[in-house]
């Protein structure tokens, strides 16, 4: 499962920061997840809880910040909403769109103590 590897990536980042910043407990984790990132938020929640068990972030609250997708429509020459990778341009109905936002998979903030 893809979200399992990603949750492992989140744990690595948390543990690196735990070592650098010398904290022993994480109570909340904020993740930015883009609409085009291919990450399923519910699967991520499930894997997050499983992966954090027995670590510094056991029982931490997971807050997911959704980032909407958008892209540059080459035909219209402007940024348009792109809810999915295969969405058509809402203006010209074309598919010549380069995604510019919504690919995020990022650990944004931690609440530690």
């Amino acid at each position: 499962m893809h979200e399992m590897s990603l949750a492992q990536g989140v744990l690595q980042i948390i543990e690196d920061h735990a070592m650098k910043e010398r904290f022993t407990r994480v109570t909340s984790v904020w993740l930015e997840i883009g609409a085009l990132s291919g990450v399923e938020p519910e699967a991520m929640r499930f894997c997050f809880d499983a992966v954090m068990r027995g670590t510094v972030a056991q029982g931490a609250k997971l807050e997911i910040i959704d980032v909407p997708g958008s892209g540059w429509c080459m035909q219209c020459g402007e940024t348009v909403a792109l809810p999915q990778r295969d969405s058509a341009c809402p203006r010209c109905q074309g598919y010549q769109i380069q995604p510019t936002r919504g690919m995020e998979m990022r650990v944004k903030e931690l609440e530690v103590g």
């Binding site: 590897s5 543990e15 735990a18 027995g54």
Partner: protein, 282 residues
């Protein structure tokens, strides 16, 4: 799984692993590494016992910590290291991805037969289990090493870096990396390759580019394979290409059959052209 040294899937085994060193943490967990630590130069951040599993309530107040770090940043750092190393040595690396059974290994075997003697060739094979694919490649005379990801569903840049170190690949080589058959996870994991090539066989659905959009968005080339089967299957090539361009307007499309040889020249030309541009040569 190994969170100590950044292995994405700590159970992964690379052919030739002499032993699996293990160690015990302060909290009592014992864990093994799939690789020998003296054989590589990656920087490994080992966590001290104080960082994990130690409870010191009340010593620090709760506070917010700004992180702003990509979840895949570790993998991406290993991928960048691979990419720099390969660029310095004129090695042209291609990451082949597809669903299981699309014909990656057969395409590789046929490609190696045609390219043998023209430039040095090497293959890193990824599968959950068995070294069958590496053996098929070695039967062609090309150097190959197998990575078994065991439960892992993709190759990551760290394991590929280790496998590469073991292979003694000559400068100027063409390096094929055959990923685990899976159209989901390998899309996210950069291995340091010059190009990701997605192979879709016409025995599959023509709407796969829409179903697995991230993979087709991440690839530079889509190879439509097994085109000798087109008379026997319902597969609309035009629609498939249209779907692929919907999720990736820049994707290049090649059509071929490893069995009949149709379209192989186009694929070999693409490899030749891009390998020369990368500095790979005899």
């Amino acid at each position: 799984m190994c969170t100590d040294c950044g292995c994405g899937a700590g159970e992964a085994k690379i052919e030739g692993d002499g032993h699996a060193p293990s160690h015990r943490h302060a909290d009592g967990t014992v864990h093994s590494h799939a690789h020998a630590h003296d054989e590589h130069e990656h920087a490994h951040a080992h966590l001290g016992a104080s960082a994990v599993g130690t409870d010191m309530p009340g010593t620090l107040a709760r506070r917010m910590l700004r992180v702003e770090e990509d979840i895949l940043s570790k993998n991406n750092a290993y991928a960048d290291a691979n990419r720099r190393l390969w660029a310095d040595r004129g090695i042209f690396a291609v990451n082949l991805v597809s669903s299981p059974g699309a014909g990656k290994t057969t395409l590789l075997v046929r490609s190696i037969e045609k390219l043998k003697g023209r430039l040095p060739l090497a293959v890193i094979e990824g599968d959950q289990q068995t070294s069958n694919d590496a053996e098929r490649i070695r039967a062609t005379g090309a150097a190959a090493i197998q990575i078994n990801t065991v439960t892992g569903c993709h190759l990551d840049a760290h394991m590929v870096g280790h496998a590469f170190e073991r292979m003694h690949v000559p400068d100027g080589a063409l390096l094929f990396i055959e990923n685990v058959g899976n159209l989901v996870c390998p899309a996210e994991f950069d291995l340091g390759e010059a190009h990701k090539v997605v192979i879709l066989s016409v025995a599959e659905g023509e709407d796969k580019p829409l179903k697995y959009a991230n993979m087709f968005a991440a690839a530079d080339v889509m190879v439509l394979a097994k085109i000798d089967l087109l008379p026997y299957v319902q597969f609309d090539v035009g629609k498939c290409v249209e779907y692929a361009r919907r999720v990736n307007p820049k994707i290049e499309v090649l059509q071929l059959s490893s069995t009949s040889g149709a379209g192989m020249d186009g694929w070999l030309d693409w490899l030749d052209r891009n390998a020369s541009a990368a500095g790979a040569s005899c």
